[in-house]
C-alpha cells in the first residue's frame, strides 16, 4: 500500500521547547492512524504540521508523493476537525457545511446537492437552518465532520475531537466516527491522549512522548509487544520487575535474575544476551491468582504472595500483592462465580503464576516510566504514583 501521508525527519521548536524532535512517520492510504501520547508529547504539533498551521524547522511533509511542506493550509487537500469544532457562529449549519465549496466557487446547484448529501450522512437534514449555539455537543461535532468531509480531502485530521464530550456521548461518537471512516474510506489521522479511543478505532497507532515516536504498530502489537517501558506503562497497566538476563539455555527462553525472586523465565523475542539489564513487564490480566498452590507445569513462573489490597469491581477484582518484596498488580476476571468459594482477602497468603510467554523483556527502559503505573499509596499523604 502506498505511503500516503509522510513525515520525513520533521522537527519543530517553540521557544525553549522542542515539541517535535526528528520524527519520521508513514501513514498508508485509507488507514485510520492515531497519534497517542500524554499532553505535551508533540502529537498536536504533528497534526498542525500536516494541516499547514505550523512550518517545520527541519524535515519535510509529503502528501501522495507531493512535497507540501511549504503550502499554506488553504492550499492543501487536507481538512481538520478542531477540538473546539470551530463552527462559524454567525452562519447556519448549512452555510457552515457549504463553506469550503463556496470558497472553491462551485456552482450553486452542486453546492446545494452536496450539502444535502452531507446532511443526510450526519442525519441532521432537519436542523440545517440552525445556528451553532443552538446545537448540542454531539451535533456540533457532526457538523464539523460534514464541513470537512464535503471537500473530499485526501486526509482528515482530527484533534482530540471527543475530548469535550461526556462519557456516554463519547462512546456513541466513537462508534459513529468508526462508521464514517468505513463509509467514506479516506485516510484519518487522529490525535488523542485516550488509549481506549486509539485502540478501538485505529488500524495503526504511533505512541509519542517528548516529541519523539516510541513505537508504531497495530493496537494489539502495541499492547502485547511494547518495545519500551514507556509504551508498556502508558498503554494499559503492567508490572515492572528490574533485573538482568542470567542465561538463555535455549534460543527461545531466558532465565532472569531478579533480586528477591527465584528464577523467572521469559520468552526471548529480542535476542538478548546474558548479562543484559532489562525490565520484565507482565500485565496484570496475564497473572493468575489462587489460594492453593497450583500444579507446577513447565514454562510457568510461580510465586508465593501476600494480599495487600483488594479492589472489587463486580465483573473483576484487582489485587495488589507482595511477592519477594515487590508490589504486583493482579487482575482477575470473574468468569464463573461459586457461592462456596472463599474470596481472597487482605493479608491472605496466595499463589500467583504466569506463563513465560506472557511476560516481555524490555531492553529500553526509564526509571521515570514507573511513575506512569497505578499504585495505591501506603499511607495518608504519600503521593500517588510518586508524583
Amino acid at each position: 500500500m502506498a505511503e500516503f501521508l509522510e513525515f520525513r525527519g520533521v522537527s519543530k521548536r517553540f521557544g525553549a521547547v522542542q515539541a517535535v524532535n526528528d520524527v519520521s512517520l508513514e501513514i498508508k492510504k485509507g488507514e485510520f492512524f492515531s497519534l497517542l501520547g500524554p499532553s505535551g508529547c508533540g502529537k498536536t504539533t504533528m497534526l498542525r504540521l500536516a494541516a499547514g498551521f505550523e512550518e517545520p524547522d527541519a524535515g519535510r511533509v509529503f502528501l501522495d508523493g507531493r512535497d507540501i511542506t511549504g503550502l499554506p493550509p488553504d492550499k492543501r487537500k487536507v481538512n481538520t476537525i478542531f477540538q473546539s469544532y470551530a463552527l462559524f457562529p454567525h452562519m447556519t449549519v448549512r452555510d457552515n457545511i457549504a463553506f469550503g465549496l463556496i470558497i472553491a466557487k462551485r456552482p450553486k446547484a452542486e453546492i446545494r446537492d452536496e450539502v444535502d448529501r452531507m446532511l443526510e450522512l450526519i442525519r441532521m437534514a432537519d436542523q440545517a437552518a440552525k445556528k451553532p449555539d443552538q446545537l448540542s455537543g454531539g451535533q456540533k461535532q457532526r457538523v464539523a465532520v460534514a464541513r470537512a468531509l464535503i471537500n473530499r480531502p485526501d486526509v482528515l485530521l482530527l484533534d482530540e475531537p471527543l475530548a469535550a464530550l461526556d462519557l456516554k456521548l463519547r462512546q456513541k461518537m466513537l462508534i459513529e466516527l468508526d462508521l464514517i471512516h468505513d463509509q467514506v474510506g479516506i485516510t484519518f489521522l487522529y490525535v488523542t491522549h485516550d488509549q481506549a479511543e486509539a485502540m478501538s478505532l485505529s488500524d495503526r497507532i504511533a505512541v509519542m512522548d517528548g516529541g519523539r515516536i516510541e513505537q508504531v504498530g497495530a493496537p494489539a502489537e502495541i499492547y502485547e509487544s511494547p518495545r519500551t517501558s514507556f509504551v508498556a506503562a502508558f498503554i494499559g497497566d503492567t508490572n515492572f520487575l528490574e533485573g538482568r538476563v542470567e542465561a538463555c539455555p535455549d534460543r527461545e527462553y531466558c532465565r532472569l535474575a531478579i533480586a528477591g525472586l527465584p528464577g523467572i523465565h521469559c520468552f526471548n523475542d529480542k535476542s538478548l544476551q546474558p548479562g543484559q539489564p532489562i525490565y520484565l513487564s507482565i500485565r496484570p490480566e496475564k497473572i493468575h491468582i489462587s489460594r492453593e498452590r497450583p500444579e507446577e507445569k513447565p514454562q510457568r513462573n510461580y510465586l508465593p504472595a501476600v494480599i495487600e489490597d483488594v479492589i472489587y469491581l463486580g465483573s473483576n477484582t484487582k489485587y495488589w500483592v507482595r511477592a519477594g518484596g515487590y508490589r504486583i498488580q493482579v487482575f482477575r476476571q470473574h468468569a464463573r462465580y461459586f457461592l462456596d468459594e472463599k474470596p481472597l482477602r487482605w493479608k491472605d497468603e496466595a499463589w500467583i503464576w504466569w506463563h513465560a510467554d506472557d511476560g516481555f523483556m524490555l531492553d529500553h527502559f526509564r526509571k521515570a516510566d514507573e511513575d506512569l503505573l497505578a499504585v495505591p499509596p501506603q499511607s495518608v499523604g504519600e503521593p500517588l504514583n510518586g508524583k
Binding site: 525527519g9 522537527s11 521548536r13 522542542q18 524532535n21 526528528d22 512550518e55 517545520p56 524547522d57 527541519a58 524535515g59 519535510r60 511542506t69 511549504g70 512522548d209 517528548g210 516529541g211 519523539r212 515516536i213 516510541e214 508504531v216 504498530g217 497495530a218 494489539a220 502489537e221 502485547e224 509487544s225 518495545r227 519500551t228 514507556f230 527461545e252 520468552f267 523475542d269 529480542k270 535476542s271 506463563h355 510467554d357 516481555f360 529500553h364 527502559f365 526509564r366
Partner: protein
C-alpha cells in the same frame, strides 16, 4: 493445546527492530535543526504585524508623542509680549512657577483630587458589589441606569449642578426652608462645590471597574470565610476587598488622573477660591496668551499625572491581562 507463541503475533518484530530507531534511556538530546525548508512564516507574520500596527502607530506618534515633546520644549522658551512664543531659550518661565500662589493651586488640585477619589471609591464599592450580586435581569438594567447619565452632555450636567447650587436654585431654597443655611451663604464657587460635581462626574467611571472585578470574584470565598468564623465586616475587609484589588486600582486611576487635570468643573462652579491647575493653564492660554507659561504648567501636570500612573501600573503588572480602563470624562 499448542498456544501460539508471541512470535506469531507479528512475524516482522525482529525485522522492524532494525529499521526504526529505538528510543532511549536518557532525556533526548535536542537535535540541531537543519536549515530545512525556506518558506519563512516569520517574515509573513512580521509583515502582517507591521501592516496592522502602522496606521495607529503613525497617527498616535504624530498627534500624541510629538505634541507632548513640543509642550516640554516650549516650556523652555520665553513669552512673546504680544502673545505667542518668543525666540531663544530660557529657564525663567520654569522658575516663575515657584511662587506661593502656584504652590497653593498645586496643593489645592492635589487634595481636591484625592478627596474626590476617596469619596468615589467609598460610594462605588457597595454599588459595584450590589450590581454584581444582582440577578441576571437586574444587572443589565442597573448598569444601564448607571451609564445613561453618561449619555448626556458633560457640560450640561455640570450646568445642571450650577443651577441647582445657584443662590436662586432649588437646593439653596430647600435648605433655606429647612433653616440649615442663611440667605448669605453661597453653595457655589468654592472647593466644596468642585468636589461635589467631580464626584458626580466620576462616580460612574468608578463603579464600572469595581463592578467588573466584583463580577469575576468568586463569592464562595466569602462564604468560606464566614464558615470559618469571620463576621460580615471581617470577610468584606479581608477577603472581598483584596479580591477586587485590581478593580480598585483601576477605579483609583480612572478618577484621580482626570481629576488632577480637571478644567471645566472648577471653571464653572469653582470660582476663584476653587481654582485648579486646569483652569490656570486655560487662563494662561486664552486670557493671557502666554503659551510658554501654559506649557510649563502643563509639563508640571504631565509629571504629576505620570507618577501615580506608573505606580499603579506597576502594581497591576502582576495580572496577566490589563483591565480596560474607562477614560476621563469628556
Amino acid at each position: 493445546m499448542g498456544r501460539k507463541r508471541r512470535k506469531g503475533i507479528d512475524p516482522d518484530i525482529s525485522q522492524k527492530r532494525g529499521s526504526e530507531p529505538l528510543r532511549r534511556t536518557s532525556d533526548g538530546r535536542s537535535s540541531e535543526s537543519a536549515p530545512g525548508c525556506r518558506f519563512d512564516p516569520i517574515l509573513k507574520r512580521r509583515r502582517a504585524e507591521w501592516l496592522t500596527s502602522l496606521p495607529t502607530l503613525t497617527w498616535l506618534g504624530l498627534f500624541v508623542v510629538v505634541p507632548t515633546v513640543l509642550v516640554f520644549v516650549i516650556a523652555f522658551r520665553p513669552a512673546n509680549p504680544y502673545g505667542g512664543i518668543g525666540g531663544g531659550w530660557t529657564l525663567d518661565t520654569i522658575r516663575s512657577l515657584w511662587t506661593p500662589s502656584y504652590l497653593a493651586i498645586a496643593w489645592r488640585t492635589l487634595w481636591i483630587s484625592l478627596l474626590t477619589t476617596v469619596i468615589c471609591l467609598v460610594l462605588a464599592v457597595p454599588s459595584g458589589y450590589s450590581i454584581a450580586r444582582a440577578s441576571e435581569k437586574w444587572r443589565g438594567r442597573l448598569l444601564m441606569l448607571v451609564i445613561i447619565p453618561f449619555w448626556t452632555s458633560f457640560l450640561v450636567r455640570v450646568f445642571a449642578w450650577k443651577s441647582l447650587l445657584h443662590p436662586e436654585g432649588l437646593i439653596k431654597k430647600a435648605l433655606e426652608a429647612l433653616g440649615l443655611v442663611g440667605t448669605a451663604t453661597t453653595l457655589l464657587y468654592n472647593p466644596t462645590a468642585v468636589v461635589l460635581v467631580m464626584v458626580y462626574t466620576f462616580l460612574p467611571f468608578t463603579i464600572l471597574p469595581i463592578y467588573a472585578a466584583a463580577e469575576k470574584f468568586d463569592f464562595r470565598l466569602v462564604e468560606a470565610a464566614r464558615d470559618l468564623g469571620a463576621s460580615s465586616a471581617q470577610a468584606f475587609r479581608r477577603v472581598f476587598l483584596p479580591g477586587i484589588s485590581r478593580g480598585l486600582l483601576t477605579a483609583f486611576l480612572v478618577v484621580f488622573i482626570p481629576a488632577l487635570g480637571s478644567y471645566i468643573i472648577p471653571d464653572l462652579v469653582g470660582g476663584p477660591s476653587g481654582e485648579m491647575l486646569g483652569n490656570k493653564i486655560a487662563q494662561r492660554v486664552f486670557t493671557d496668551r502666554n503659551l510658554p507659561h501654559a506649557s510649563a504648567l502643563s509639563a508640571v501636570l504631565v509629571l504629576a499625572v505620570l507618577a501615580p500612573l506608573i505606580a499603579v501600573l506597576a502594581l497591576q503588572r502582576k495580572a496577566k491581562k490589563s483591565d480596560i480602563i474607562m477614560g476621563e470624562a469628556p
